[in-house]
Each structure stands twice: as C-alpha cells, then as structure tokens.
Symmetry: C2
Subunit: 215 residues, 2 copies
C-alpha cells in the first residue's frame, strides 16, 4: 500500500516546528524561516521553488530530493495553505505559492470550513476536506494512484496522524537554531509507545537528518 | 571570571534529558542509558570512567574531552548523586561512582536535606548545599580557584540556572534515540528570550553536538 510520509519537516534545537504568530508576512511564524536554511541551500529546493539551476548537492540535497520521490498527493493543514482563519471570506486566497504551486499533484487541505476545489496551473488542485484526517487520507490515497501521500504539516496535523499511527515514516531535520516558542512537534507525543523508532541518522553542517519509522 | 558550563548533556530526539523512573538500577531513568552511546564510545570516557585505554577519537571524543578541561568544581542535583529521596536515612549512600569518583575536585550537591561533607578518594569531596542554586554556585566558584564550574544536571537544576541566566555555555548532544517520556530539557524555557543562541554545531554518526552560549 502507498505510504503516508512526512518529509523535510524541520524542527529547532528546542523542538519547535514553526515560530509563533504566523501571518501573511510570516508564513512559517516569526523566526520560522531560519529553520529552513539547509533546504534553501539545496539544488532540489532551488529547482522546485525558485526555478534556479544553482544549489548544493550532498546529504541535505539527498533528503530534500527524497521528499519529492514517488509522491502522488499531499495533505496540508489549513494553516500551511494560508493565514486566513475561520470561514473563508471569499475565494481570493489561493495559497502561498502563486498560480503554479510547487505540488503538481492533488493537495488535500484539512479545514473546518468547506470550499470548492481550486484548480491551479501545473497539475495542482487544492481540495478542501472538512470530514477529518481519516477521510483526507482516504481521498489522498485514492488520488495518489498507488504512489505515496506526503503530509506537509503543520505540527497539529502531524500530531493527529501520529496519534492514530497513520504515518509510515517521517524525515525530520533538526536545524541548529533556537526558536524559544511556537509549536513543539513532539509535545505530548510518546513515539516509542506508539511504535515508532529512529531508523536513520545522518548529519550535514547545516542540519541533522533523522528518519522515524513505524515498526 | 570562571564560567558555569554544562558539558556532554545529552537529550533524545524528542527532547528528553533522562528517562522516567530513576532508581538504583536505572541511574539515568528507564531507557536513559541509550542516550550516552556516543560518550561511552569515546577514548575520554573509557579512560575517565572505565580506566581503559580503548575508545574512539574524533568529534565525539573532542566534545567529551572539553568537558573535563579547566574544571575546578562540579554542581550536581541530588538525583544525579543518587536514588535516595527525602531525608537521608543514614550515611550509607556515597554516590554512584564507588570510593574513587570520576570528579577529582569538590562537588556541590543541591539538596533540601543537610548532610556532612563526604571526603572520597582521589580528590573528590561531596558538599551538600541546602541554601539553593546561587549559594551553591558561589561556593563552587570559590572552590574552583579560578577554573570553571561544571554543572552536571539534572534537567531541573539546569532549568533553574538557565532561568537566572547563570549558565555561560552548554554543550548539548542530541542522540538519535526516542525516549517518549521523562524530563524535557527545554520545557518551558525560552532560550532566545533569555539571551542564548546556538554558537557551534558539529555532528558525528553517533550524535549531533551543539554549543548554546549566553550572548
């Protein structure tokens, strides 16, 4: 069966997966951008996000690249899709990524507020799912057509899927920065009790990469 | 002035500095020993703890070795000294380390229960301090005679010193293991707000080493 995977999700040394006070100017929360220095330096992210041919190869790039391998659909929490809270006031918010988003596959956005699907350029369609994480996973698996489903986050959504043991593996990057506050990825989560273990560990000068797998 | 330093303090990927349920058979809490694989493999720890000539050199050993450099006194929380809780029933508990402990300098043990100093072989004397962290630091600095004071832990004591901004630098090792529960080193601590930043970052296959310094 296709896997549910978290990839390139980065936490600070003090365990935060995003800074506090996300808004239009701070998509990753205040200070959150500093987490992703390792990723922005890679050839993979330079190509995928910036359309640039620059960027580094090596361990960081290998991990960034695996995040795009065999992915047939994505699941995002609503806050990863945008800064709008509560009922959608109109259709104007179309994601952080412009008219041709980086996904190029169906993306299922978990929200409490229904909205018609958004068909974007380049193969990305945003589907808004109000029936919860299990329904979103079922729809994403179907849309992925045998490929894996990548769970983008944020912290709250990852925790919900972890508590149900629905995540097959997580690549977590630990960045050498301190955030001080925000959302802690593993707060209140007992990973060994849920049957997870660290199965891979590699580090670069920019980040430590681990893979946490369901046994 | 001499520094107050935390050295070789190891946390799990999920942020715990010790496992739960410390007792006589589990000095580091259940599962806590797995944190210290990187240290036990080093030449420094093999020499200091085991009196052995084996052990590895390299990044891990460099960090283990710096923990013993220029240290004139130690401070320990009582739970690092032993598993006895509440008033001392008698004088029989003399630490985890036998008659010739690894310290070879004065060690100040923070406790709520007074006890006469314990003079051990090899230069280690355990002093029991009931007047709190500031007094313990003052006495340790005096005893250190210009050298630094090393703060051994545990988590609770490190947090107390951090909140008072009394720690100059901390070498923290992150081990690729999951503990699931126990004491989280940075729970409730906002390091950037306290004026701390990550100033060094190096990784080996066994652990990621960071230094967090007061700016």
């Amino acid at each position: 069966m296709s896997k549910l995977r978290v990839e390139s999700f980065t936490v600070s040394l003090d365990g935060f997966g995003a800074g506090p006070d996300q808004d239009l100017n701070h998509p990753l929360g205040v200070g959150g951008t500093s987490l992703h220095g390792w990723a922005f330096a890679t050839q993979t992210i330079q190509q995928q996000l910036m359309g640039s041919d620059s960027g580094e190869t090596g361990i960081d790039n290998d991990f960034a690249a695996r995040g795009f391998h065999n992915v047939g659909a994505w699941i995002l929490g609503r806050n990863m899709f945008g800064p709008v809270r509560g009922p959608w006031p109109d259709e104007s918010w179309r994601g952080w990524w412009g008219e041709n988003p980086v996904y190029h596959v169906p993306v299922f956005v978990l929200t409490n507020h229904a909205r018609a699907p958004l068909v974007m350029d380049g193969g990305t369609t945003f589907h808004f799912v109000t029936e919860g994480i299990t329904t979103a996973l079922g729809r994403a698996r179907e849309a992925a057509g045998g490929k894996d489903v990548r769970l983008g986050g944020g912290v709250n959504i990852i925790q919900q899927y972890l508590r149900q043991r629905l995540i097959d593996e997580m690549h977590i990057a630990i960045a050498p920065v301190l955030l001080g506050s925000g959302e802690r990825l593993f707060q209140g989560i007992n990973l060994p009790a849920l049957g997870y273990a660290c199965t891979k560990h590699e580090a670069s000068p920019r980040a430590t990469h681990v893979v946490i797998s369901r046994l």
